[in-house]
Amino acid sequence: MSVSVQAADFDLGAEMAALRAGRSDIGAVVSFSGLVREVTGGGGMTLEHYPGMTEAALAEIEAKACARWELLGSRIVHRFGALEPGAQIVLVIAAARHRAAAFEAAEFMMDYLKSRAPFWKKEGVGEASRWVDARDVDEDALKRWD
């Protein structure tokens, strides 16, 4: 179990290898990577966050997933700062004995990340940039875990 909030890019292969290292009890690993989509008018996005609260919120989300499913490992990496189209933004990994728990835990962590971790996306560059609105569909996605 660990979380990182960083400006630097991450390496999915290296993260996966670190989580599996020396283990033979893991039967399933699910990973999700979120990427920057190109928006109309070009430019990538800038991610602002709340240092301190962000790390605590991610750790809490991960702990909730570990309490709900029997995970054998987990990892959350979230980037901040200026990100170009195509860049990786977020990584979630869940490892378990069987795939159902790994799939569900990865989806659960992503659903919570979307609207419970203090990040704010601004799309585009200069005058044309705009803050991304929160989407009702993201809030609704949380309800299925109640």
Partner: protein
């Protein structure tokens, strides 16, 4: 008390944070005091449906008491992931 602003609240107010002394009992009372500080503050707090609050880095709500709180943050709904 330290008050932090993020995203468009920070841009509208023009400050990442400010240190304020307040007589408010709860978050709503603090918002009323802050909104009276300048036109920019008033604009930032004009639609409270679009504002979320954290007290000492824990998500909270507008009716929460401020007793013992050292850090208050205001921001729009979060858009991570």
């Amino acid at each position: 008390m330290k008050v932090l602003y993020f995203a468009w609240l920070r841009e509208r107010i023009g400050l990442p944070f400010e240190v304020v002394s307040t007589r408010a009992d709860d978050v709503a009372g603090l918002v009323a005091e802050l909104a009276a500080r300048s036109e920019a503050h008033a604009l930032a707090f004009s639609d409270m449906r679009a504002v979320r609050v954290a007290l000492d880095q824990e998500l909270s709500d507008m009716s929460a008491p401020l007793a013992g709180v050292a850090e208050v943050a205001f921001f729009p709904p979060m858009t991570g992931g």
